[in-house]
Symmetry: C2
Subunit: 711 residues, 2 copies
Amino acid sequence: MPTDKRLADRLVALEGLIRPKSIAIVGASSTPGKIGYSAVKNIQDSGYQGRLVPINPNDPEILGLKAYKSVLDVPGEIDAAVITVPARLVAQVADECGRKGVKGLIIITSGFSEIGRRELEEEVVRAATQHGTRVLGPNIVGILSNSDKLNASFAPFLPLPGKSSLVSQSGALLVAMCAATVVRYVGFDKLISVGNMADVDIADLTEWLDQDGATRCITLYIEGLRNGRRFIEAASRATKPIVAIKAGVSAHGAAAAASHTGSLAGAAKVYEAAFAQAGVVTATDLNNLFDRSLVLSLQPPMKGDNLFILTNGGGVGVLATDAAERFGLPLQFAPADIQAELRKHMPEYGSAKNPADLTGMAGKDMYYPTVRYLMSHPWVDGLVVLYCETSLTVPIEIAKTIKQAVDDSGFKDKPITASFVGGKDANEAMKWLMENGLPTYEVPDKAVNAIAALREYARIRSRITAYSSEAAPLQAEGARAVIGKARAEGREALNEVEAKAVFEAYGLPVTKTALARSEDEAAALARKTGFPVVLKIVSPDILHKSDAGGVKVDIKDEAGVRTAYKAIMAAAKAYKADAKIEGVAVQEMAPAGVEVILGSVNDPSFGPTIMFGLGGIFVEVLKDVTFRVAPVTAAQAERMLDEIQAAPILRGARGEKPRDRKALAAVLASYSAMIRDLEDEVGESDANPVLVYEDGRGLKIVDARIILKKK
Amino acid sequence: MPTDKRLADRLVALEGLIRPKSIAIVGASSTPGKIGYSAVKNIQDSGYQGRLVPINPNDPEILGLKAYKSVLDVPGEIDAAVITVPARLVAQVADECGRKGVKGLIIITSGFSEIGRRELEEEVVRAATQHGTRVLGPNIVGILSNSDKLNASFAPFLPLPGKSSLVSQSGALLVAMCAATVVRYVGFDKLISVGNMADVDIADLTEWLDQDGATRCITLYIEGLRNGRRFIEAASRATKPIVAIKAGVSAHGAAAAASHTGSLAGAAKVYEAAFAQAGVVTATDLNNLFDRSLVLSLQPPMKGDNLFILTNGGGVGVLATDAAERFGLPLQFAPADIQAELRKHMPEYGSAKNPADLTGMAGKDMYYPTVRYLMSHPWVDGLVVLYCETSLTVPIEIAKTIKQAVDDSGFKDKPITASFVGGKDANEAMKWLMENGLPTYEVPDKAVNAIAALREYARIRSRITAYSSEAAPLQAEGARAVIGKARAEGREALNEVEAKAVFEAYGLPVTKTALARSEDEAAALARKTGFPVVLKIVSPDILHKSDAGGVKVDIKDEAGVRTAYKAIMAAAKAYKADAKIEGVAVQEMAPAGVEVILGSVNDPSFGPTIMFGLGGIFVEVLKDVTFRVAPVTAAQAERMLDEIQAAPILRGARGEKPRDRKALAAVLASYSAMIRDLEDEVGESDANPVLVYEDGRGLKIVDARIILKKK
């Protein structure tokens, strides 16, 4: 079935679930205080225009509506069913709804996988999906929609209307955020609680909201994705801004890891990578989620870096300037023509440079011409207008003047945000501005952070390419045989020789390496490899080879090989008498280069995930690394090279020659394809060190490590 | 005069200025709209209980009060004079007030140094201070005080009452923040506008507020300190928490620098260092200043790292856990006894580990016993209580229960903060809690950030030592002679040999270095130094000596010295034909070690300021450095070693031996004493590289650089 058709089918089913023309409430009740009562009452109170049918085996009428014993008894079509019956009854109801042809179930009932009853939950999903019926939940608050006047939830009222829609994995937070919309003046069109995500997940809802006419920005509260790659796929194809907060990124309670890469791959790093690939704007905290959701739903992307700040107070101007640098939009002084024009509209002691300070004297007469001019000037890519409440001016008048100036400028594809610092009157003015499409904040930092979100959105959208969660198997002769042998021997780690063989099968530039089981064999292999060579112990019981005296480098002739072989064997025995010794690896000696490390982890949400960093101290002490969900293209990999703090080193810092970034990026891409191809087998892996040579001279993987996935 | 006496005198004068029993308004007016009218009206309206005397040469009565032509005509004492007359008249008024014995002037009038009229401002200060009268301003909003019911300002009303006092360098921001107190429910006792700080500065006010009975926390908005060391001195001796925001830390518009250290010493870095030494808690933005000011004025310091988080919603619990890690207080699971006790008060599916999730069922019956127990348990050093508004609970009841539980626990020296996420009812509950001494925030991150401020305060206070801005001159034979010689020759940079001579005079361990002006002299000096030696070009025109072929290392005998000498001379000529060559430095060759860099800048606000970082890439690429205002003790310097990201390297990362941190800290302390002693001469300096050896083996300064202060 072609992808487009499958997508279209998904969207139709979700349309019935989220915007139903008819709803059955299974478990409806006449008893106030019961969830089955609130479910009916809340839908009635919200002004829902569709058909509402209570289902209750005992009660023929509920809240003035005719009730039926079963959904199967209801005449006509039912799009969605809100389910509030006890957990043990849900599977049967799901089956009945499916037979009835209900498109989607909104399962409020809890008591499933969140308390360990995973099988019961799976039974419910099977019962519904066998009929093509989708399941939202279980364990959810419900769905709230302003544009459809529908409160199919146990939250007491609809949120303040807005142009963003929120999907939340936390029900309690959704209810609290719904109440908070009123006091923050930041509204939502829809609030959708996803609970246990047994079927419909955040990826599905992202797809659906992207084509929902009432939604301009998709706002996500994420605790953990089950199928991370599906989410990246859906988000990277979305045409609307998406802003997300990932909760649960602290190390508190996280498990220990077996490899370098594993120890560096916390949830924060992996989600950061995934969001970058998905084109998702991130929020740092709950306030920031509100702030960014607002601006992304009301203002266009900021297409260039030239931010202009206009203020009536030096203090807030300086704070905004600091914030601009902090949020990645450092100010530049404005060109002379802008300065000259602005100077016409301010007192002599004002400043026109950027930030432009109209001074505390600034009233409507100063704000109007300057805002209008700046909105229409091509140098300005985005505008932040600041206002400190003074005793000379009336906030609401300044607000209306700013809005008028923006409208009169005729520029609709250039973003503007504002900050009004003050008391009750300033608050009223802020509220008016937000109702009129101009996001306004109580402190200057927030107005700058908001416009930075619009810049971030434009930047990441210009960079991302649609991600596909599907991949065709690669040809990599011998790789699976090597792994199969280790599995057959009951091992979960490949030795260096094996790991390099797997790498080589995927075209990665490993140093020539072969296993010698005797001194004579070592000598023969060294001759074949060509001098100088390196000898390394191969033993599952010796992980830190150098510490054990198990590595000899720069061996120049056969006599040297024989001496080194004996020395290594003796050292290994001394280090650990009962170590199982598989032999000695004989390797070509790679010339010195800049040390980098590549690695991978198999993330529970996102699957194979690739890491890059500089080697040695940079990884071990500074933890200066970056991640991507595999696979990545060479172009994407090249951007990873610039994301670490130590990036200038590869570009040739301190008089060094630039390194072969192109070759490194290509290897990163191949590495990512390898771990994607072997995702059923490889748990973690490292190529460390990898030596990168001068531009045009490529790189060499000197040591390799693969830890198999537990099966 | 002993310090204590001078301090006491300062405090008495400021008491008259800030808490006057009698006030003259010079420039009082009967015309509404004039500042001289507002000044009188605002004091009357605020309920001021002292004596109020308008001064106006033409009007015998103003706003019902008898007016005088001059302050000299007023019978009885006048503590403070509010001055609103035009700038050109202020000096005369100041003189009259001084003659009258007025303790302090509150000069609202603008038009002084802020528009370049520095001399007029100095004249005013002279006129007042010659009589012992202090000057606040000019160019200020005024002083507002709730505890004295005094609004001596042109802000329209007093702020919401609170227990912090705010000192602001921005007048507009002070007026706007005053208005904002009402909508944020975060009050202040006093608001003091300091304007141009021609006389009374932030250090003075910090000293005074520290002994003010109505102030529990000192809140500072700082744009730039004139005498930074005086501020560090005052703040480091304060007994109350100080929270500050420094505005103007971006690089926008900052000047370029001549040395490594200079290029790394932005305002952000230097203020960060100064605040650490001053024991000042920092705020990241304006909201954060309100949030931290509130918590520091209401709650005790947090004495240990064990933070406990109690919640009724998993989502906010996870967000708070993430925030705890972000703000330096990562959570630990609670001991078994706590978990066992908490489990008694929550549903089975709750969690007692930390965060403890009472679940959405949590009402008063669950919050009360758990809060009371946690407040009294010795393991808990601080408690954050989270509440998500639900339809089952009433926010104000939860609020009162929490407060009751805290009170009933009897523990007053353990901090608690709260977050209520929700709508109008939650807001009312937050307000009630704040009025009752429990700082409460609208999102969990803020509640965690607030308690982290209390931990930060306890930590920095335990570390700082009272800073003295005074220093006795040191004995450093010959240092000033070397500098004098360079000055006499019209140079602003010392050469390496000279710089090392200065360093050596202060006991710093430089490599033995002498200047040879001929090949024979080089040979002789090398013999005297002992082989191996290093030869380096000495030329004011060749800054990058290695690039110019001007450095030869590891020279083992006299023949080598002669060859190297010729090669260096030839290379220097080839590099820059007209370079002025002073000779060749002959140096002992220091063994390899971990490279670090020490340096200094002479900051316009704080004077000599010392920098520390690891050498090479760490400084040049990662900019991984830390600063302190000089001088520092060896103990303080040792803490600097731990502040850089690369700190583990000196402790012996990756199997390396630990380095001689004690010796390095001692050298940092000596270096800081040197630049403090030479603050009138040294502009910037670097010791780079400095090689640090294994523990007990000290360090060597291999290259040195001093750039003199412009005179």
